[in-house]
Structures are given as structure tokens and as C-alpha cells.
């Protein structure tokens, strides 16, 4: 059933962008060939990294967990194929910093042998908390890009009541088409995943939001819904506008509700999940397969065959490019993610991680136009989907007024890049916001550290003072004791003098007597000798 009367609203601002999606949707999703070597970063999600479960030389099977964590906000990582752990060490991973992080390197044995899977064919026979546990064990994180552990997200707490589950198939960023292709080819799995999540959070209905530039996907899903005669799941076709795919923006469009600035969608009875995540949930529960692969869009004018590939997590990007016909000669820039929110990669020797949705190869040779001074045109404020004042944020970030910038709600910025896109002076606004955000986090970390150091310093000071006092006390007691002794002695002396027996004198006398005796004895003996 589709309510054609589903009313839609608008969020503030937004941009109509050239979608450039067609270039990668011409061919169906292909399966990447099994790579020889997989590099698995231990941390691919928001939250705590897990502890290693394997060591170098261990044999692992496909789908075997290689990390685990006791922290709540965490997700394990699984071996994407069977093989041997050949190395555990620091390797570069896709991150704007370009820094290395702990990775497990697995050499494939070519068998691709699964670990024993435990499918749950009828999810409704299990309790929601059991299903959440399965999702956690499968290592599922949000596949839209943020990589927040899904098991946490589908547990909104006892107080929150989720009314509507929103499945985000918007995919508003240009070039990216992995969700589009996923919806076309995995519609059945998607619907199954939606039902499972809906059951877990006991949402009364489920909306699948898709932009109107993906008619094939809409058709595919509608067909499945019709076939299965599902009444609580509904496809909503929404107008194409960037960034409708943002969680808060999508909620606004569908429900006219606003998520509170420091709140979550669950506060207003909503839960938003990406389509990829829903399919991953289906696989994890119905098939028992953990999250070991994902669909990645390889696209852009700098690559020979733009397409969508289903790849194992940990496959190197260079390998994917090779399977897409290689680079064009004029390829100039490698971007992870889309052109709006993605970040530049310095090398292609990086593994695909759970949150990687797109590899964009650009071929623009022209240098970016030089930044000009801000002319305060406020075009940025007009397009800002979070209704912020990008210009004010820019001034404050550039003059490092980090207190003030938070009053202007820097942390509501979703870094969608609309402001930078429309800026007539080509100011890289988002970079300023990212700078301010990481600076503020850093200050917070420093603050915690310095508070900790203060406590330790104060404790040490108190300890030293206590020790000093104790020592002084001991010394005083000793002195007292000594004094008492002395007093006693002098008292005794006094007594002695009173009885007129001077011990010293008597000692001397005794000694003199002894000497006298000795002398006499000697004398006597001498006399004896003389007599002889």
C-alpha cells in the first residue's frame, strides 16, 4: 500500500546539484574477484576499538570474528575470507589524516571457506534483544558513511518509543550510486531487513525514502512490497535536493518534525537507517553472515569503467580500480566518498572499510580558483540545511573564538558543503568548521588531562605534606623521649651528688686503686726476682 497522499515538507536551504550518477549505474553490480591480501583495520566504526582475537600465523575462516570488545559502543571485525593472518601492524587506512592505524593483514588461501553459519530463518521467533545481540556479533555499523554501531542505534532505550522507522535510500550526493544499485538488486533482502528492524524497535510503520531520480529502485521495491502484501512498509518518493540524505533533513521532509539540537531522532519517536544497513541486518540474521562485504561505487571521469562493485572489506582500492579498467591518463585526484563531503586520499594502497561507499576519481586539471575575501553576501546562510550562519561560523573559526562558535551551534553543522559550494569567494568553509570542531575536541581532551594531572598533583602534595608532618611528629616524639631520659638522668645525678657518691670520682678512684694494686704486685714480683 502506498499512500499517494503522503505529504512532504521542505528543510531550509539545500542545493540542486548535477547528479552524475548515470555513469556508474549502466552495468549491474559486479562481484570483485577474491584478493590475495586483505588489510582489516581494527577500528572501522565510531566508538571503542575491539581487542584482537587472533595472532600472526593463525588460520581464519571466512566470517570468523577477529576482534571483540566489551564496550557498549563497539563492533567486532570479521575475516572477509579464509586464510592466514600474516601481519598485525600499523597501516594507512582511509582517513583524512592519512595516519596509520592498527590493522590485521590476512592472506587469502583461495578457498573462501565459511565458518559455520547460524541462520535465523524466522526472526520473529526471537526476542528483540536476542536479535540486537546477533546484529552486534555480526559487526554491523551504519553503512551510509558514519559507521555508528547499529546494535546501539536500534536500542533507543526503554523510555523512547519508536513509532516510525525511516529507511534512508535518498543517496543525495552526486556520483554515488551504491545504494541505488543495492535497492534495484537487493530489494527483497532490503524489505526483509526493514521488517526485522521494525520488529526490533517495534515501530508501527516504516517509510522507505527514495529520491525521484531513482525510478528503477522505487519500482523494484514497490514490486516486492506488493508481492508480499506488506501494509506497514511504504515507499516515499521525495524530490531530489542535496542534502536530503542527512538524517535531520530527511526527517524534516518526511514528518515536518525537527530533531532537537542536542538530541536524537529517537527523542521524537523516529529511527533512521541506511538501506545498506537494512540489507546487512537481513544477511546477519536470516543468513547468519556477518558484515564482511559492501557495495562500493567506483566512479568519476578519471576511471575507465565506472561501476558498482561488491567487495570484501579490506580489499585495497588499487585493486578495485584495476577491476574497473584502471585510471584514465588524466586522472588527478582520488576522493573517498562523494564530491561534497568526501575527503582526498593520498594513495590508493588503502583498504575499503565498512563506511566506504564511494571511490571518486576526478580528472580536473585546473587548479581550484584562489580564495577571495568574504563579501558577506550571505549566500551560505541561504543554502545552509541546518539553518546556521556559516559566515559567522567562518569568522569565529578563523579567529579561533571557540567559545563563541559553539553559541552559534557549530556542532549542528553536518559538513554537507553547501555553503562552500555556493560561496562566490571560493572560501573552503567546511574546512574551517572541521578545524574548529577538532580543535574544540582537542581542548576538551586537554582539559580532562589537565584536570586529571591536577588531582594527581594535589594528591601528591597532600601525601608529601602528610609524610612531612608524620616525620616531624616522629622527630618531636623522639626528642621528647630523649629529653625525658635526660631529665631522668639529671635527676639521678642530683640524687648521686646528694648522697655524695660521685660515680665519676668513684670510677677514677677505683681505677687508681687498680693501678696501685698492679704496681704493688709488680713491685712485689720484682722483689721476688731480685731475691732469686
Amino acid at each position: 500500500m502506498t499512500r499517494s497522499s503522503q505529504q512532504l515538507w521542505h528543510f531550509h536551504g539545500g542545493l540542486k546539484l548535477d547528479s552524475n550518477k548515470a555513469m556508474s549505474t549502466r552495468t549491474p553490480i559486479i562481484k570483485a574477484s577474491l584478493p590475495e591480501r586483505l588489510v582489516l583495520p581494527v577500528q572501522q566504526h565510531i566508538g571503542e576499538a575491539g581487542q584482537l582475537l587472533v595472532k600472526v600465523g593463525d588460520k581464519v575462516l571466512k566470517g570468523q570474528a577477529v576482534t571483540e570488545s566489551s564496550e557498549y559502543i563497539s563492533a567486532p571485525v570479521h575475516a572477509p575470507t579464509s586464510g592466514t593472518v600474516v601481519e598485525i601492524g600499523e597501516f594507512p587506512t582511509p582517513h583524512p589524516s592519512g595516519l596509520n592505524t592498527l590493522c590485521i593483514v590476512i592472506e587469502s588461501d583461495g578457498e573462501d571457506e565459511w565458518i559455520e553459519l547460524k541462520p535465523t530463518l524466522y526472526p520473529n521467533t526471537k526476542s528483540p534483544s536476542e536479535l540486537r545481540q546477533l546484529i552486534r556479533q555480526a559487526g554491523i555499523v551504519g553503512l551510509g558513511g558514519a559507521a555508528f554501531p547499529t546494535s546501539v542505534k536500534v536500542n533507543p532505550g526503554p523510555k523512547a518509543h519508536i513509532e516510525t522507522l525511516i529507511i534512508n535510500g535518498v543517496e543525495c550526493e552526486p556520483y554515488i550510486s551504491c545504494d541505488d544499485m543495492l535497492m534495484r538488486e537487493y530489494a527483497e533482502e532490503l524489505i526483509s531487513g526493514c521488517s526485522i528492524i521494525q520488529y526490533i524497535v517495534s515501530a508501527t510503520h516504516c517509510l522507505i525514502a527514495i529520491e525521484d531520480n531513482k525510478p528503477e529502485a522505487i519500482q523494484a521495491i514497490k514490486t516486492v512490497i506488493k508481492e508480499k502484501a506488506l501494509h506497514t512498509i511504504e515507499v516515499v518518493c521525495i524530490p531530489t535536493l542535496y542534502p536530503t540524505g542527512g538524517e535531520k533533513q530527511l526527517i524534516k521532509v518526511l514528518t515536518h518534525k525537527e530533531v532537537p539540537s542536542d538530541g536524537f531522532p529517537s527523542d521524537i519517536g523516529l529511527l533512521v537507517q541506511n538501506v545498506g544497513t537494512a540489507v546487512a541486518v537481513h544477511k546477519a540474521i536470516v543468513l547468519g553472515e556477518p558484515l564482511i562485504s559492501r557495495i562500493v561505487t567506483i566512479t568519476g571521469n578519471g576511471v575507465q569503467q565506472p561501476q558498482n562493485i561488491e567487495v570484501l572489506i579490506g580489499t585495497l582500492i588499487s585493486e578495485l580500480i584495476k577491476q574497473s579498467g584502471g585510471y584514465h591518463e588524466d586522472a588527478s585526484k582520488l576522493i573517498m566518498g562523494g564530491p561534497m563531503m568526501g575527503f582526498t586520499l593520498q594513495t590508493d594502497h588503502l583498504p575499503v572499510i565498512k563506511g566506504s561507499n564511494c571511490i571518486l576519481v576526478e580528472n580536473t586539471q585546473a587548479e581550484a580558483p584562489a580564495t577571495m575575501p568574504c563579501i558577506r553576501c550571505s549566500a551560505c546562510a541561504t543554502v545552509c540545511p541546518a539553518q546556521l550562519l556559516p559566515q559567522q561560523l567562518y569568522w569565529m573559526a578563523s579567529s579561533k573564538k571557540f567559545d563563541l562558535i559553539q553559541d552559534y551551534h557549530l556542532f549542528d553543522c553536518i559538513e554537507c558543503g553547501c555553503c562552500a559550494q555556493v560561496c562566490p569567494s571560493q572560501i573552503p568553509l567546511v574546512q574551517y568548521y572541521r578545524f574548529a570542531k577538532t580543535e574544540i575536541w582537542n581542548q576538551e581532551r586537554d582539559k580532562i588531562k589537565s584536570d586529571h594531572a591536577r588531582v594527581r598533583h594535589d594528591f601528591r602534595q597532600a601525601r608529601l605534606d602528610k609524610e612531612k608532618k608524620e616525620r616531624a611528629e616522629k622527630l618531636r616524639k623522639k626528642k621528647e623521649l630523649l629529653e625525658k631520659k635526660k631529665m631522668a638522668e639529671t635527676a639521678a645525678k642530683k640524687e648521686d651528688t646528694e648522697t655524695e657518691i660521685d660515680p665519676k670520682k668513684s670510677a677514677i678512684e677505683a681505677a687508681m686503686k687498680r693501678v696501685q694494686k698492679k704496681k704493688e704486685a709488680k713491685l712485689a714480683s720484682d722483689e721476688n726476682v731480685n731475691e732469686k
Partner: protein, 186 residues
């Protein structure tokens, strides 16, 4: 006559006010200076003494009394100076030239092959970040080390070395975009 009235009135009123103020200042006397705590809270608590005061709190007290400037904290760098200027409402002062760069976070480590277990460094550490006992090998608890380097001079065998803290993905920071923008020159 009128001048007498004026003198008397003024004297009487002044005396009354004087007594009143004197009484209140005794009666409503408040111990402690909350501003020192506020300043102390902004300081990085390395207790390194590079400000020429023996620790962060003494420096905070010195700032309060106007004895010390707000630009004497090298570990805090520019951020601390700006925070202090904000708190105290004074104009930001340029840092000493040698500390103008962003301070790099460092910790120390003990070369355990050389350590003779003299405990001198333990006594120097302001935050109890060194673990060890007499004639036993010592080690630094890296998480607790503030990088004050106070333990280095007492070491008789020079086995304590400085290392910079490696940036990690979690703690990595975006840099301020290199501004090609120029403020309109006069």
C-alpha cells in the same frame, strides 16, 4: 558659622560611614580568592615550572596578584594565553618568541637498560607518574606523564629521554585552511 556647620556635618557623616564600612568589612569578610581557582583551571597542570613559578597554582596566584604576565606558560601555548586574556579581560599578549610555535606534546621514557634505580626521578615527578623502588628499575606511566621534563635533570645516568606523542586518527586535528585571503591593506 556656616563653615563650621559644613565641617561638622562632613565629619559626622564621614565618621558614620567609616564605622559602617569598617564594621561590614570585618563582619562580611570572605576567605579565599575564587579567581585563582578559575585561572588554575585553565592552566595545563604540567607543573613544569617553566613559567618560573613552582607549579601551576603558584603561577595562578602570581597572575592574580599582577606579579606575572599571562604569556608565561609554554605548554599551554597560545590557547591558554587567549583563554586567560578572555577570563581576566586583558588584551592578549604575544608569547615569548621561543614559545610562539604550537607546543608539541611530549612524554618521557626511561631507558631501562641504563636505569640504576636511584629514585631521584620519582621524587621530582609532580604527578607521581614514575613507578619504581630503590635499586629497582623505574618506568614511566605514559598516560599520566604531563611532559614537564622535571625528572630529566636529577637523573644521574641520563637515562630519561623525551619523545613526542604520536598523533593518532582519533586525536588528529584538521589544520586551519591556509588563507590566501588577505585583509584589505590600508
Amino acid at each position: 558659622m556656616s563653615i563650621l556647620v559644613a565641617i561638622i556635618t562632613l565629619t559626622v557623616i564621614s565618621t558614620i560611614f567609616g564605622v559602617l564600612l569598617g564594621y561590614t568589612s570585618v563582619k562580611f569578610h570572605v576567605e579565599g580568592d575564587p579567581i585563582v581557582d578559575k585561572i588554575d583551571a585553565l592552566l595545563p597542570q604540567t607543573q613544569c615550572g617553566q613559567c618560573t613559578y613552582p607549579g601551576c597554582r603558584p603561577y595562578a596566584e602570581a597572575i592574580t596578584s599582577g606579579e606575572a604576565g599571562i604569556n608565561q606558560c609554554p605548554p599551554g601555548g597560545e590557547a591558554t594565553m587567549l583563554a586567560l586574556s578572555d577570563l581576566l579581560g586583558i588584551e592578549p599578549v604575544a608569547l615569548d618568541e621561543e614559545h610562539a610555535d604550537e607546543p608539541q606534546k611530549t612524554v618521557v621514557y626511561i631507558d631501562e637498560q641504563i636505569c640504576i634505580g636511584c629514585t631521584l626521578c620519582i621524587q621530582a615527578c609532580p604527578v607521581d607518574a614514575i613507578l619504581g623502588a630503590a635499586k629497582q628499575m623505574h618506568t614511566i606511566i605514559e598516560n599520566e606523564c604531563t611532559g614537564c621534563d622535571l625528572c630529566i635533570p636529577p637523573c644521574p645516568v641520563d637515562c630519561i629521554h623525551i619523545k613526542t606523542v604520536k598523533p593518532e586518527q582519533d586525536t588528529w586535528r584538521w589544520s586551519l585552511p591556509a588563507s590566501t585571503e588577505t585583509a584589505p591593506k590600508a
